[in-house]
């Protein structure tokens, strides 16, 4: 099949760009630790027994190392528990989240924290909060009549 010279140039350029994009994405995901949420961590949970399954029986934010925190959270219609979250500036927080009812979202605008929270699955993402302030955590997946009221705050001091 004959392909015009200009079209060959165009397609070569286009396909090369795609390959470059994919290399950037793949290398940063698999060699630089910038992967999608929940990577390298896959376990499920009985969605009807979230309140009896550790660690979600006691949702809390706890210190796990120097400036390292783990926030164990449960998303529900229409809120998150624990209700208050506070860490010092410069802390890295690992959010470990599941849902006790329907599908929810977990997003902190202005950061790369953005993940789906599914009943029956545990999702995880880490972020370092350098700037002090109040960070909005909101649900970005429709979960019912009160979806727009589903949010909490993380205070970085």
């Amino acid at each position: 099949m004959h392909i015009h010279r200009l079209e060959k140039i165009w397609l070569t350029f286009g396909v090369t760009m795609l390959v470059v994009f994919l290399l950037v994405l793949g290398l940063s995901a698999f060699t630089m630790g910038m992967d999608t949420p929940g990577a390298g961590h896959s376990h499920s949970i009985d969605p009807a027994k979230v309140d009896k399954t550790p660690p979600f029986d006691k949702p809390e934010i706890k210190r796990i190392g120097d400036k390292q925190y783990e926030a164990v959270m449960v998303a529900y219609a229409f809120g998150y528990s624990p209700a208050t979250l506070e860490v010092p500036a410069g802390s890295t927080v690992r959010f470990t989240v599941t849902s006790s009812d329907v599908v929810h979202g977990f997003e902190i605008p202005g950061t790369n924290v953005n993940m789906m929270v599914l009943p029956g699955e545990i999702n995880q993402v880490s972020h370092t909060f350098d700037k002090p302030g109040e960070y909005l955590i909101l649900c970005n997946e429709y979960c019912g009549i009160g979806h727009q009221m589903m949010f909490t705050k993380l205070v970085v001091k």
């Binding site: 994405l25 605008p109 909005l136 727009q148």
Partner: protein, 545 residues
């Protein structure tokens, strides 16, 4: 001498188009109201919920308007290029499909109006709607299958009576589109029939949420290509004729459709990149396959602009861009799809951002994504469909697109473009700031973030109003077309340029393409699906509205 359109086929096509326009108008009213609610300009009366409107908007626009219009257009192309009339079998299948899809739409809309199915058009489990909402979806899908069988039957009959001949390009593309649809809808059929219906009737207690989402997105991404491929048919075959040019290459056009068939399906995970329960390797594999589907779009862009330039130069255009002036800008049959093509450039680029593995975290489930598909389907595809309607209604009714109706059409298209600039532009902007999609009016207790989003919401509402005005003009134009003076309007079908090479016959070896498509799907999905079916406890259902 213009060949007149078969009258029985014309009625079938017209029924599909008018049903599509009615769905579009209702969906448009919902859309305008949503943009006004979200900007805080109005509150809904009579206990109508924002999410109820949003469900209606999504179902009517994404599922009903598109599917009806596409099937109407495909049947017109089959009738015209494969023998001048549909066979009895194909026409009956077309009407049977229309009846089932119509019944499904009616049932679905009633369920949404009764507030028994406020689950949005993606109906993510474990939100549990009335079982009759899921049955409505089954009727829609099965109806579209019957219509697909009608397309295949017409094509087979033609091949039998025209042995050894290359099939007409428009018909070939229609067959590929319907073949892709048959393969893609298996996913949604599986989840609705095996998961949602037994669960919503209470025959089983729980549902596997991750599995249902995966089966949905196995269907959900090719769904967007099901919208796009008929638009490509218009761009490849119809537009060259309207501008008085020739099709640049028959072979490349067929190649790009085959690539769309192969690569539009095994890519659903790029909608689930932020989700738990899917290993990073499988996500990335499908991201790679997603990027492959850009290649046919690159081929398409080249072919189309080659057609424009060649036809402009053939009519004496000089200089690097002189051919642009030779294009028939005042002809709505060209202007509407051309604006669609133009918008597809930023739309496609935005799509690459969404599919970019971990980069998706910046935009996932924000208004950016809503802005993206308001460019792709609601501008590129919708404008192309509007452009088709302006000549197809006259063709099938034996009337003429008058100069006055053409001017009304141009006005409608300009309004649509301006409205969408406001709507989609502000969605992209506020989405980048983290503004979530699918959310009723809220300030999150006066959070400073959300105050920043407000001006964008006002711009969206302005866009919504302009778009609604465009729809009113469109409805007037449709009524005008139905009452236009009798005559014969041309069904524009481009011819291939004389210098093009012979098309390889391999493109019509369907067994081969179905086998490759199946192999890609098996590779991309088998292991993750086994994991999902085996793992995890099911979830009970919830009615959260």
């Amino acid at each position: 001498m213009i060949q007149s359109f078969d009258r029985k086929d014309g009625r079938l096509v017209l029924a599909h188009l008018l049903f599509a326009y009615a769905a579009l108008f209702l969906g448009g009213i919902c859309g305008m109201l949503q943009s006004m609610v979200r900007s805080g300009s109005v509150t809904l009366p009579a206990g109508i919920g924002y999410y109820q409107l949003l469900t209606a908007h999504g179902v009517l626009m994404a599922l009903v308007f598109t599917t009806f219009f596409i099937i109407g257009f495909l049947y017109s192309g089959m009738s015209r290029t494969l023998g001048g009339a549909l066979t009895g079998v194909s026409r009956k299948l077309g009407w049977a499909g229309f009846a089932l899809m119509g019944a499904g739409t009616a049932l679905g809309v009633v369920m949404v109006l009764l507030n028994k199915a406020t689950v949005l058009y993606t109906f993510y489990a474990p939100l549990k709607a009335s079982p009759y909402f899921y049955i409505a979806l089954v009727l829609l899908v099965v109806g579209s299958w019957l219509s697909g069988y009608g397309v295949f039957a017409q094509y087979r009959t033609w091949r039998r009576t025209n042995r050894g001949k290359l099939s007409p390009l428009l018909a070939f593309m229609g067959v590929v589109t319907m073949l892709m649809w048959q393969i893609a809808t298996l996913g949604v059929a599986a989840t609705v029939l095996l998961q949602f219906i037994p669960w919503s009737f209470g025959w089983v207690d729980t549902i596997n949420v991750l599995l249902s989402r995966t089966l949905f997105w196995y269907f959900g991404h090719p769904l967007v290509y099901f919208w796009l491929m008929p638009a490509y048919m218009c761009w490849y075959v119809i537009v060259p004729k309207i501008i008085g040019g020739k099709i640049y290459s028959d072979a490349l056009a067929r190649l790009s459709f085959i690539l769309l068939l192969l690569f539009s399906i095994p890519v659903g995970f790029h909608h689930q990149l932020m989700e738990p329960g899917i290993a990073p390797f499988w996500k990335f594999l499908q991201v790679v396959l997603t990027f492959m589907v850009v290649v046919p779009s690159l081929i398409t862009a080249f072919s189309l602009f080659a057609t424009f330039e060649l036809s402009g130069r053939a009519r004496g255009a000089t200089g690097l861009f002189g051919w642009l002036k030779k294009l028939p800008w005042r002809d709505v049959r060209f202007f509407a799809p051309f604006m669609g093509m133009l918008v597809f450039i930023p739309a496609g680029a935005g799509g690459l951002v969404n599919a970019s593995n971990q980069m998706d975290a910046v935009v996932h489930n924000t208004l950016w994504v809503t802005g993206h598909f308001h460019l792709t389907v609601a501008t590129s595809v919708a404008l192309t469909f509007f452009g088709i309607g302006y000549w197809l209604i006259p063709v099938v009714t034996g009337r003429r697109l008058t100069a006055r109706l053409n001017r009304i059409g141009i006005l409608q298209v300009v309004l649509w473009c301006v409205g969408m600039l406001f709507m989609s532009g502000s969605m992209h902007g506020s989405g980048l700031l983290g503004d979530p999609r699918r959310t009723d009016y809220t300030t999150y207790n006066d959070s400073p973030e959300s105050v920043l989003w407000m001006p964008y919401h006002v711009a969206m509402a302005i866009g919504g109003i302009i778009l609604f005005l465009s729809l009113i003009v469109l409805m007037c134009a449709v009524v005008g077309l139905l009452r236009a003076p009798r005559g014969e309007e041309e069904y524009p079908i481009g011819e291939v340029i004389d210098t093009a090479e012979k098309t390889p016959r391999v493109f019509e070896r369907w067994g081969l393409w179905v086998a490759i498509s199946a192999a890609l799907i098996v590779i991309a999905y088998t292991l993750p699906l086994i994991d999902m079916i085996g793992g995890g406890k099911g979830s009970p259902g919830y009615k959260m509205w």
